[in-house]
């Protein structure tokens, strides 16, 4: 509830009571665990306190006897009592130290349980090299994928080829499997059936990091970091000329105009008081600029203009079109208008490719693509 990004949603839907209730439920679940732990600890704490009491009484008893028979003076009496109490504590502490050390291994084991999770993708040795001087074709061959823990496949027996300079679009309703296809393409997941090839080689044979370097992506759920605008685009690979080139080619100059320190302006309040808060559309421009700056051989844009207004959307698509000229590009969009400049359009329905072609051929076929296009177009007539 403290997350400012959720503030609008909560207020608009007056969901504060609902969320407070959820918070209370979660908190009471946590508290009941703490109470159960304290209850289990109580009897052992009582035993310890009993022993401690006995030790103090015993010490004082002996000290008083020794003092009364003149064996020790007042100072020695005090030293004896003080030393005995410190000794009890120290002996207990030393044993506790060993107990603590033995239990520390349990905590370390919990840490290792996570640290030893297998890195099957990133740690696998590369068996093939990505061709350096050219872009290869990307091919899905009978690919199916079911998310872990799910029974229904999100993608079913999908096959297609995208050639090096082609622009492809995946369209379809929500849940049709578009974003899952992108995840498979980026090798965030491996297919449960079938294979994916880049330049004729199974993508699992390439080094994971090398393969990911191929892609320039802008995701639907992009994230802006609370660092400078420049760092949001370049990360740790700053090249001023390249950055200026990206600024010239995108709508970023409009964003920079409202930044008091230019590209060094911080976005978000975590690190600077002179930071700016960008609108959703401006943030999306930054996400697109980030993809341009990376200059990958394959451009992947998942709903890249969802947060832009129609005027900016049109301009953004022109920028994207220029950027994608001569390189492989993959678009995912609900907006059918954005697919017109693509050479290949794949229409997805329930995880399957049900239609394939360019805009005119799909319109002529009067299938699902035609229906979806017409449904959207009627609002603009």
């Amino acid at each position: 509830m403290q997350d400012q990004r959720l503030g609008k949603e909560i207020r608009a839907y007056q969901a504060d009571q609902f969320l407070l209730e959820k918070y209370r439920d979660a908190e009471s679940g946590y508290l009941s665990l703490i109470e159960a732990r304290e209850k289990a600890l109580r009897k052992w704490s009582l035993l310890q306190q009993g022993i401690y009491l006995f030790e103090i009484l015993l010490t004082y008893l002996v000290a008083v006897i020794e003092f009364r028979r003149g064996a020790i003076a007042v100072g020695a009496f005090l030293m004896y009592v003080g030393a005995s109490q410190e000794l009890f504590q120290v002996v207990r502490d030393i044993f506790d130290n060993f107990v603590e050390m033995s239990l520390v291994t349990g905590y370390y084991q919990d840490y290792l349980d996570y640290m030893n999770l297998k890195e099957t993708m990133s740690a696998a040795a590369a068996e093939a090299d990505i061709p350096k001087d050219r872009t290869g074709s990307l091919e899905f061959k009978n690919v199916s994928f079911t998310y872990p823990g799910q029974t229904e496949p999100a993608v079913r027996n999908v096959s297609f080829v995208i050639r090096p300079d082609e622009k492809a679009a995946f369209v379809g309703d929500n849940g049709a499997g578009k974003t899952t296809l992108i995840k498979l393409m980026l090798r965030l997941y491996d297919p449960t059936e079938g294979m994916i090839f880049y330049d004729g080689v199974d993508i699992r044979k390439y080094g994971y990091a090398d393969y990911l370097k191929l892609f320039s992506c802008a995701f639907q759920d992009f994230r802006i970091f609370s660092y400078s605008l420049k760092e949001n685009i370049c990360f740790d690979d700053e090249n001023p000329e390249k950055l200026q080139d990206v600024i010239d080619k995108t709508m970023l100059d409009r964003v920079i105009q409202k930044c008091p320190d230019g590209v060094d302006t911080y976005l978000g309040k975590a690190f600077s008081e002179r930071s700016v808060e960008l609108s959703g559309g401006e943030q999306q421009s930054v996400a697109i600029a980030r993809a341009f700056y990376k200059d990958g051989r394959i451009a992947v844009f998942d709903e890249p203009t969802a947060a832009l207004d129609p005027m900016k959307e049109h301009a953004a698509y022109e920028e994207l079109n220029d950027f994608c000229e001569g390189r492989m590009a993959v678009f995912v969009s609900h907006r059918m208008g954005s697919t017109i400049f693509c050479n290949k359009i794949f229409v997805l329905d329930e995880g399957r490719i049900v239609e394939e072609g360019d805009h005119s051929s799909l319109m002529e076929a009067k299938g699902l693509y035609y229906d979806m296009y017409e449904d959207q177009a009627c609002y603009y007539r």
Binding site: I51, A73, G75, Y80, A83, L87, I94, M101
Partner: protein
């Protein structure tokens, strides 16, 4: 079999400490300094006032009492200063040591298979790992600060204690062993409970 388990535990403890020492040696150095300084302060607070009282109540020259008082005042002041300073530095470097562990978790989170960043089971596992860092990273503190300081204090206090009344010594040790058994049970309960608590805490943190 049990002996073997203890031996493995001891090896693991040394391994954890060794990792921490390699990454952030200053934390162990300051922990050791703080352990010795704080226990030395405690020992002096027990021994010197008693000597002052005996000096005052006996027929010793006043100069001796004055020297003892001055010694006590100076020693406690200097040790108090060192105690605070080493504690502060030890906490600062301890925080750095914890952050170095968190960095490892960050790197792991970036390199695990993507499916392991999306499943609830893996998220719970990561939360437990993050919580456990605060616990096991204390191993250096336990060895360098607590154990070293306690052994030093144990040696001095045992000498004082035995010189006054030797027979009570084994009784106290025996009682303390029983108390330690209780402590072990408590720590076991705490550890068993924290896995569930970490999961519940992740949910509370989300709702917050």
């Amino acid at each position: 079999m049990k002996k073997c388990k203890h031996l493995n535990n001891a090896k693991l403890v040394l391994q954890i400490w060794g990792e921490q020492f390699r990454e952030c040696p200053k934390v162990s150095i300051y922990e050791a300094c703080h352990g010795i300084v704080s226990k030395l302060k405690t020992v002096l607070e027990v021994v010197l006032p008693a000597m002052v009282v005996d000096s005052l109540t006996g027929s010793r020259p006043f100069v001796r009492t004055a020297v003892l008082i001055a010694l006590y005042a100076c020693a406690t002041s200097v040790l108090g200063l060192l105690d605070r300073s080493t504690k502060l530095m030890q906490e600062a470097y301890g925080y750095q040591a914890v952050n170095l562990r968190f960095n490892k978790i960050n790197r792991k989170a970036m390199s695990v298979d993507f499916k392991d960043t999306e499943s609830a089971e893996s998220l719970d596992r990561m939360e437990t790992a993050k919580d456990s860092v605060w616990e096991f990273n204390d191993v250096g503190y336990v060895i360098c600060n607590d154990l070293l300081g306690n052994i030093f204090s144990f040696a001095v206090m045992s000498a004082v204690f035995v010189s006054l009344n030797p027979w009570i010594y084994p009784v106290v040790l025996l009682m303390t062993v029983v108390s330690t058994y209780a402590e072990r049970k408590k720590l076991k309960i705490t550890h068993d409970s924290y896995v569930m608590e970490s999961k519940a805490k992740r949910r509370v943190n989300y709702c917050r």
